[in-house]
Every structure is written in C-alpha cells, then in structure tokens.
Point group: C2
Chain length 327, copies 2
Amino acid sequence: MSENKQPTIYDVSERAGVSLATVSRVVNNNGKVKEETRRKVLKAIKELNYRPNAMAKGLASSKTTMVGMMVPDLTDLYFAELAQGIDAVAKIYNYSVSLSVSDNNPTAGKEAFETLMSQHVDGIVYIGNQTSQEMFDLLKSSPVPVVFAGSVAQDGKLPSVNIDYVQAFQQAGNILKQHLSDTQIALVDNPGESGLSALRQQGFLKAVSKGKIYESEDDYRSGYNLAHHLLEDGIKGVIVGEDEPAIGILNYMLDNHVQVPNDFQIISSNDTKLVKMTRPAVSSVTQPKFDIGAVSMRLLTKLMSGDPVDDPTVILPHEFVLKDTTL
Amino acid sequence: MSENKQPTIYDVSERAGVSLATVSRVVNNNGKVKEETRRKVLKAIKELNYRPNAMAKGLASSKTTMVGMMVPDLTDLYFAELAQGIDAVAKIYNYSVSLSVSDNNPTAGKEAFETLMSQHVDGIVYIGNQTSQEMFDLLKSSPVPVVFAGSVAQDGKLPSVNIDYVQAFQQAGNILKQHLSDTQIALVDNPGESGLSALRQQGFLKAVSKGKIYESEDDYRSGYNLAHHLLEDGIKGVIVGEDEPAIGILNYMLDNHVQVPNDFQIISSNDTKLVKMTRPAVSSVTQPKFDIGAVSMRLLTKLMSGDPVDDPTVILPHEFVLKDTTL
DNA sequence: TTGTAAGCGTTATCAG
DNA sequence: CTGATAACGCTTACAA
C-alpha cells in the first residue's frame, strides 16, 4: 500500500494550484515569487514529501550538482582523510559525490573518468600519487574543472592543493642532519610517475646534498623488505614518503633489535593516525589532510561556478611532530 | 576550438544513417539489429566518441545504474576495506557509486539518504555500526533495495552480509579462557544502537559467562583512556570490538610497562592492516572485509534486478590470527 | 529489422 | 509575479 510513485513537480503544482514554473522557482529559490504563493507551494511540497528528481534537473539544466572523486585506494589513510575533507565540503555546497577507486591503474582510471563524463559531473577532485601521463592528458582534456588534491599536476599549472613538499623535505633533512652526516641519511619514496616525489627529492637534496635515495612502494611490506638494505648501506636515518613503509622500516628495526631512534631515525611524511599507534611513535611531517581535501573541494566549487580564483595552486601550511623515532 | 557539445544519440543516428531507436538498441545491446547496421552504428559511435548521457538514460528508463554507498567514516580501515569491495563489484556490474559519509550522525544520515533518493539510485549498500532506530526505519522505507554490509539490521531480517559474530566472539572468549578465569576476561565494545554489538556480547557471554563488559568508542584514544580501569579491575585479557581501541589499550599497557601478552592479553576483531603494524602485533579475529563488501554489492545487484535470492542474510567465514598479544 | 513518436521530470524562454 | 511551452537526451511501445 505504498505510494505508487514519487510525486513530481507536476503533482505539487496541481496541489498548490500554480504552474510548474512557479514551483520550480520556489524550489530553486530563483525569480520573484509572491510570499503567499511561495507558502502555498512549500506547503504542498511538504504534504506530498516532494523531492526534485536530480536526473531531470540535470538534464534540463545541464548541471548535476555532482562531482567526481577519483582516488587510488581508500585503505590508504592519507587518501581517506583527504576524501573525508572533500566529502564534508561537498555536503556543505550540496554536491553529491560520485566515487571512483582507480587502483593506480591507468585502465581503471580511464574508465573511471569515462564514467564520470557520462554522468556529467560538474567537476572532479582527483587524488593520485601515481598519475600516468595518459591519465594526466585525459584529465587535462576534461570539459569540467579538475582539482588535484594532495597530488601534483605534472606541469604544476593545473589547480591543486598541497603542502610545500620541497620545504617540508628540506626541513626534514635538516632535522636528521643534526645528528647524522649526509651519507648516513636517505630518502625512501615511491617515485611513481607524478611530480610529487620529484618535489620531495628536490627538498631532500637541498638539505642533504649527498643523500641516497631508495625506491619503495606505498605499503608496509615494501618498507619492511627494504630495511635491511638501508642497514647494509650504513644508513642511520631515513625520511619516508608514506607512513606505511615508514612503519615497515620501523618494525624491521625493532624486530632486529636495532635501537630506534638511537641507532636509526625515521621521519615519515603523512601523519596519518598510524604514526601515533606504533611504539615508538613515528616522527612525521604533519599535513592538514582534511583541509587539503576540503580546500580542494571548495576551490572546485569556485571553478565550477566560474568565480574568479586568485591562484589555483594552493599551498597549505605543514608542521612537524617529532615523536619517538627521532633524537 | 573544442567540440561545442557532447555528441548525442541523435548525432550518431544521423551519421550512421539510422534512427534513434536503432542506435539505442545497439548501445544497450537489446533487440535485434542486423549485423551490418550494428557495425555502421558502432563506427559512428567511435568516430564521434559518443558517450550516452547517464541522466537522460536514467530519466527515460527510470534506472540509473548508480548505487548509494553510505559509510560512517572513511578513515576507519574496516569501513574502507568494505568500501573497496563494494566499489570493485560495482565496477564489474557497471554501477557507479554515489558516496555518502554519514558520520554516525542521524541527521547527516537522513540527509544522505534523501540525497540518494533524489538521485534515484537503484539500490543502497549501507555500512554503519551506530545505526539509530530512525535511520533504520528510513532504510526500511526505501523504495529500492538496501543491503547492510558488515552491519546488522536490528530485526536481523533485512539483507545483510556479515561474519558469525556470536561464534567468533565465543571462540575468542575460549581462547582467553585457556589461561585466564572468567573474572579476568572482559569484552570492550561500542554498544551503539545497532544489533552488532549485541551479537558480540552474546557470543562473549556464551564462553565467558561471568565476563565483564566495558564500553568504548571506536577510536584509539578511547581505548587508551579505558585501559587503566581494566587494570584496576584485575582484568588480564580483553576482546575488543574494533582495532583502534584495541591498539589504544595495547599502547597503554606498553607505556605503563605491563607485559603483553604475559600479564595482559588482547584479541581484536577487525584485522585491519593496523594489527600487523604494532609491536607486539595484535591477535585478532580475521574478517573477509573486502569480500563482505563485494558480496554485499553482488547481493544488491541481484535484488535490484529482481533475481531470486536464496537467503538474504549471508554469513561469511571468519578465522583467527593469533599474533603476539595472546599467549 | 527498423522507424516514429510519446513520454521521463525538470529548467528556461517567452509572453502575459 | 505567473503561466505556457519548448527543450534536455534517451527509452520504449507501437507501427511499418
């Protein structure tokens, strides 16, 4: 015995004794409507529990109030926190979010993008540490605005929100240099194909000119497995691009009775909640991850509505939390 | 100098020299189309780089091939892994996913639901540990199918995918009983308003009839702060409903020189990647989280297409990984 | 096997 | 301030 159908704008107009156009006006709060009619319409809407059909609206207005969010992996807490920030601001601006997990896989990424296009999203927030050139070109060809959140566009000229990686990694290098010599310090990062790790390297080398650079994936195992090489090479301190491999390295040290931080220091970079859950707790660059997501989405709203944007390349402040893996 | 507009089905039909209907038929692969015409149409589609407009399609067919995914918190790895499973299967079946973070907040949850309704999603995968009665009623009133993923519907009769929590927690209790007496064993869980913690309690009490039960939130701090009470009460082993508070408890013990597992044992329940990152690594029930998500989504596809479903209440197998917080 | 045409629920452009 | 009415791009009987 449930309602046969969702009520339409037509039902509302009939009940309120006005035209479709008028209902549309009050729903969208645009155009002048006499206070009395507005009230009538609102009443009918409430009584019928009317809810505008987003598809019809989208079709007619060619605006979907939906944004695409592309993310490589939700189980990476760094991305998850960005996503929370994005979602929160999307809610505020009444955008719904179409999620696409791209798996750092160019094919999946391309398909995700295509899907978003056929959904006619009004904009895209792109998160990705491994952006391929192909993906990048695709994004560049987007008919709707794209913002890179916590990710660097290769030519650095697309809208993006980040911290100053160069400075952060230079500072991190300087911290380790307080007790170690250049040759004892290394950077561990996933080079990927994005510009992000290039910036990190740049900053690192600014501080530690003779520093060694190791490659790792973004996962725990990868760090764990890399660790013995570090020891063999006489490395005494590392700066790691992601928290999971940082913890992998830490645990290798603990499992092999290397004293942290006395004999080995670690600075990580993402400050996800992971870093406070280990013992010793991991020292890290702190990033305003939620804010990076939030600001990205806010930037996107501006871009979507054609508002002027002073600088589409936003840099948010970072800090350091020196816990127990540094001296 | 870019294309003025996205090509429409009309452009394709014109170029291929056939009618709209025919193009629609080949695009949707339904109805008979002569091989030759099909080829022509496909050619035109490719040349024009035509992409069906999801909104128009949805409007006309009242199917959106979009599902809603409601999740309380993406930075909870348990949820994130479920979400990955959901997303993966959604991709396979060509559904797009509309994400809604509900923040365990009834108001936000209600709004999220309303948004999904106006988007006319074809179905909903609901993730939530704190489902309020109100939310539950709302979900029950949904005109489209809803599947509870890793969450228990209060009356236990709505479609859901879970492990057997009663059994799992009974087994966990038995494990601790090998070295401890009933009064030394406790359950730490977030009771919330959902049926899930009730099942856990039930299983726990089956094994540890005099066991004490403590309440905590789902976060690290909450566990850390609770820990001293456990010690004061002479508790020597706990089963914890979530990984983060479990690790909170662990770290409190470590920080206060309580020997784990010798003087205090911990079994957690979600087996997120967190549990292998601590030292000692946390023993835990292992849940097939990705699969819970995947099966939920698969179940939803069946429900959405009206396929017969043998049993809408799916139980997936769990196991135990006894690491270093148990004897 | 293919084409015609009537919707689907809105918005938006004109008149009034 | 309000009302007709033509799109929006596609699906789906119904014809042919």
